[in-house]
Every structure is written in structure tokens, then in C-alpha cells.
């Protein structure tokens, strides 16, 4: 299982690649929470980044996670960095 960390400006490239990985989990992080992470089975968005930017409604399809949960995801999956 691979965890795609998606930020800007690499979101477009990263999400295209993640789409080709049937085991992809996607984490929208930092300015990546502005990106459209829809269409993935498992999408996460980092709470502190979502709240600071006021985009809770824009990431409605994502599970909002704190840093503790993000660490668990990092530990449990191979990390693919796009941020």
C-alpha cells in the first residue's frame, strides 16, 4: 500500500500517478488541500492545513486527520512524496 503525500505545485502530477496505483491512499497536505482529491478510495486531508485555509467544505470527500493519524498512515504505508 502506498501513501501519496500531495502538496502544491506537484498535485497534478502526483494525483495522475496515484490514479494508476490501485492501492493508492492520498493525503492532501499543506497547499495540497486546495487540490481536487476526489475519485480515490481513501483520501485524507491534514486538519491543521484544512482549518488554516478554511477549506473544510472543499475537502468534504476526504477524511480529516491530525498529525498523530498522519504518522500512523506514514508508518503503515510506503510513502510517495509529491510536495
Amino acid at each position: 500500500m502506498a501513501l501519496y503525500l500531495i502538496g502544491l505545485p506537484f498535485a497534478k502530477t502526483g494525483l495522475e500517478l496515484a490514479k494508476r496505483d490501485s492501492d493508492a491512499k492520498v493525503v492532501l497536505i499543506e497547499d495540497g488541500v486546495y487540490a481536487d482529491g476526489s475519485g480515490f478510495g481513501e483520501v485524507y486531508a491534514v486538519k491543521e492545513d484544512v482549518e488554516k485555509r478554511g477549506v473544510a467544505s472543499r475537502v468534504a470527500g476526504a477524511k480529516v486527520i491530525d498529525y498523530d493519524e498522519l504518522v500512523d498512515l506514514i508508518v503503515d504505508n510506503k510513502v510517495v512524496n509529491f510536495l
Binding site: 499543506e30 498529525y67 498523530d68 498522519l70 504518522v71 500512523d72 506514514i74 508508518v75 510513502v79 510536495l83
Partner: protein
């Protein structure tokens, strides 16, 4: 427990990478994971103990010093440190080391996970 290596290539203030890095690494340390950092390019400025910014209670350097106090190992690229005029890191926090890419390669060799910021 996992061993997590961070690559940090941006400096304090200019972008928020330092903040994200410190938050993830801090959470990882609390959970008992092993954490190390290789600071490359502008990332090396995060090691400075001389940052002063009245608007904030804590400066970015303080967060990295705390990570070291909590068990993280932080090594900065020496070529980058000297290129950027930081004199072999003489104003870095004591626990923050100056090394080279071989240190980074060794971190990666021992890492279960690698996160870039």
C-alpha cells in the same frame, strides 16, 4: 516502532515546510518512533539558534531544538551550510550536527519510511 527519515530542503519563515516537518516529526517521536532529519539546501537555516522574531513566541529553530531534545537526530549538509554563509554551523543549536550526503544515505539505508518536506 518505525524509523522515519525526513528530508527538509526549505528554510524557516519563507515557506511552512519547517512547521509541517516539526509537527509530523514531533508526533512521531511521541509515539515512540525513531526520527532523523537530513537538512539539505535552504533546509540548513532551520538549525540556527540565533533566530529572533518578536511576533512569535517560539521561532522555527526552537522547534527543531526540541525535536533533538526529544530524541531526533538532525544532520545538516555541510556544503550547503558553508555555501549559505553559516560558518560550519557555529550558531546552530548544539545538538544539530553538520555532516554530508553520506549521513543522509545512511539514514535512508536504515529508514522504514522517507518523507520529504
Amino acid at each position: 516502532m518505525a524509523n522515519i527519515n525526513f528530508l527538509l530542503t526549505e528554510g524557516p519563515f519563507q515557506t511552512e515546510k519547517w512547521n509541517t516537518a516539526a509537527k509530523i516529526a514531533g508526533a512521531a517521536l511521541k509515539k515512540g518512533h525513531k526520527v532523523n532529519f537530513f537538512c539539505y539546501l535552504d533546509g540548513i537555516y532551520n538549525g540556527l539558534s540565533t533566530q529572533e522574531f518578536a511576533d512569535w513566541e517560539k521561532v522555527p529553530g526552537d522547534y527543531f531544538n526540541e525535536l533533538v531534545e526529544n530524541g531526533a537526530e538532525i544532520v545538516c549538509c555541510g556544503i550547503c551550510v558553508n555555501a549559505r554563509g553559516q560558518q560550519s554551523g557555529k550558531f546552530f543549536y548544539e545538538g544539530i550536527k553538520v555532516g554530508g550526503i553520506p549521513d543522509w544515505a545512511a539514514f535512508v539505508g536504515g529508514a522504514d519510511r522517507v518523507v520529504t518536506l
